[in-house]
């Protein structure tokens, strides 16, 4: 692997965090994952403010975003990112339990880069997470200014 982009994971459910991290670990993608637990933290991270004040300015190579989040929900985070000139280039992947069409439509209308419904089957889930990780953190060339480990 030539370079590994930083993955910002926004997920409040510790079980989902564990499962996703396990899947990423299997493919050595877990090291560059930054985990935040709600929408507010995610925005704090991106804007280098609050508990992330003083963080160096690089953006993540991809944002894995759950929709149902405490405080500020996923769609709100997505709206903020995609309406900010500086942040809107960050690829955002919605990774959610919801199969609801209305969430999907809303996400795409806000300009999401990919929408993945977490499969119930674990092998499918691992595959989905792996493919996401490999594509967005390794294969895809992120916009300039993204954190990327050579």
């Amino acid at each position: 692997m030539s370079a590994l982009g930083r993955i910002l994971m926004v997920e409040d459910d510790p079980k989902d965090v564990m499962l996703t991290m396990t899947a990423l670990e299997e493919y050595n993608l877990a090291n560059e994952v930054v985990l935040v637990r709600d929408g507010e933290q995610a925005l704090d991270y991106l804007y280098s403010r609050g508990s992330y004040a003083g963080r160096e300015g690089e953006s993540p190579a991809v944002l894995l975003l759950d929709l149902k989040l405490p405080k500020v929900d996923g769609l709100e985070v997505l709206r903020t990112i995609k309406s900010d000139e500086k942040l809107k280039m960050i690829p955002v992947v919605v990774l959610t339990s919801s199969r609801e069409e209305k969430d999907m439509v809303a996400s795409y209308q806000l300009g999401v880069n990919a929408y993945v419904v977490k499969p119930v089957d674990f092998h499918e889930f691992v595959n989905a997470v792996k493919e996401l990780g490999v594509f967005w953190a390794v294969v895809n060339e992120p916009p300039p200014g993204s954190a990327r480990k050579r």
């Binding site: 459910d13 079980k15 989902d16 499962l19 396990t22 149902k68 959610t96 339990s97 919801s98 199969r99 609801e100 069409e101 977490k118 499969p119 119930v120 089957d121 674990f122 092998h123 889930f125």
Partner: protein
């Protein structure tokens, strides 16, 4: 005139009674009184040196009688007026003798008085008719207002109910949304962690324990399918259909590739006839065909060579009937009524897996298109499912 209007206005119900009273004796009373009054005034005025007022006063008395009373009373008034005239105002005064010279005068008076009485009575009658039609109109207006009020009340009730329905619908949607989100997550976790457990500790577990873990996996996966199927079922009831002209042929191809995994190297002979265009919601029609084709594949699982036939007929110019026939295990026609119910299964779980929601969803889609679905089968002799759809936008269900 306006005074009269006010009088009558006040008592619309009492008027007919009053009139029938007036029309009998009071009518003649009015005749006598008005003529007597006219005579008195005429005599009085003559005494005061105003001559020749008797004639117009008499006419007035007759007109008043005609106005307020019945024609018969007016005739009485006319006779009385002639007598009074004769007695008081024509020579010889104080007697009822009529001189030949006065006869033309009496004829003229009678004709004129009759004319005046006739005018007066007609005028009165027209006025009465106008008044009664006005009352009729007023009643009608009142009735209409009442009816309008009723309609408004009903409308309000309807609006209320539709609001309640909308609230229920929203609740249902919120419920489905919550199921979609909150029920799938723990199911996924059970599957995930059981897999991880098996992977990490599978070697040290006894065969029995591994079997238990496999059971957990199977159940959780089944629950996941169940949740997804129920969501699909509920979604089809909630969303609007977006109908266009769609080719059944292409959707059948798509459905076949979707069930390809289920086929898993089995020997299946597909007989797919020419299929028509229908007016339907593409995604929903796909759900129907995936379910029916998947069923056909599933229930021919025990056949060495499965034969699945998909064809169509046109029973009338507006509809098409699509049929899916298989040579599978079939079912007892005794239970055909249960076929399309939610959670209804006609086979043991071990024999053929399934949630029992598929055909309920299929039926819902077909009904939402104004179509019909039915099936024919015999035990061990295959099953045929038929459903009808409109051929064009204008077709009546």
């Amino acid at each position: 005139m306006s005074e009269l209007g006010v009088n009558v206005d006040g008592d619309a119900v009492g008027r007919p009674a009053l009139r029938s009273f007036v029309s009998s004796w009071a009518g003649y009373g009015i005749a006598v009184l008005s003529v007597a009054l006219a005579l008195l005034i005429a005599l009085g005025l003559e005494k005061l040196g105003v001559p020749d007022v008797a004639f117009p006063l008499m006419l007035l008395a007759i007109a008043l009688t005609a106005w307020f009373s019945i024609p018969r009373a007016a005739i009485v008034a006319l006779l009385l007026a002639c007598l009074g005239f004769n007695f008081f105002f024509t020579r010889p005064f104080g007697s009822l003798v009529v001189s030949a010279a006065d006869i033309p005068f009496y004829i003229a008076f009678t004709l004129l008085a009759s004319l005046v009485a006739w005018f007066s009575a007609t005028r009165r009658r027209i006025e009465e008719e106008l008044r009664s039609s006005r009352d009729l109109l007023r009643n009608e207006v009142a009735e209409r207002t009442l009816r309008e009020q009723e309609i408004r009340t009903l409308n309000d009730a309807l609006a209320e109910r539709s609001k309640a329905l909308q609230a229920t619908n929203q609740e249902l949607e919120a419920f489905a949304y919550s199921v979609s989100h909150d029920l799938r997550a723990p199911t996924r976790h059970i599957v995930g962690f059981t897999e991880l457990l098996l992977k990490g500790a599978g070697a040290v577990l006894s065969d029995r324990s591994r079997q238990h873990a496999a059971m957990i996996l199977e159940s959780a996966q089944r629950m996941g399918t169940l949740v997804d199927d129920l969501l699909e079922f509920s979604r089809i009831g909630r969303v609007d259909t977006r109908k266009t002209m769609v080719g059944v042929q292409q959707i059948v191809q798509e459905a076949m590739s979707e069930v390809a995994r289920q086929i898993d190297g089995r020997d299946i002979e597909w007989r797919i006839g020419p299929l028509p265009l229908v007016y339907a919601d593409r995604a929903m029609l796909r759900v129907v065909l995936v379910n029916l084709i998947s069923n056909a594949v599933k229930f021919t699982g025990t056949r060495a060579r499965a034969v699945i036939e998909i064809g169509s007929t046109e029973p009338d110019p507006e509809h098409v009937v699509i049929r899916i026939r298989d040579n599978g295990v079939g079912f007892d026609m005794k239970y055909v009524g249960k076929l399309f119910g939610v959670f209804q299964r006609l086979h043991a779980m071990e024999a053929f897996e399934g949630t029992g929601i598929g055909l309920a969803t299929v039926q819902r889609v077909v009904h939402r298109h104004g179509g019909r679905i039915w099936a024919e089968a015999a035990i061990e002799q295959g099953a045929t499912f038929y459903f009808s759809l409109p051929k064009s936008a204008g077709a009546t269900p």
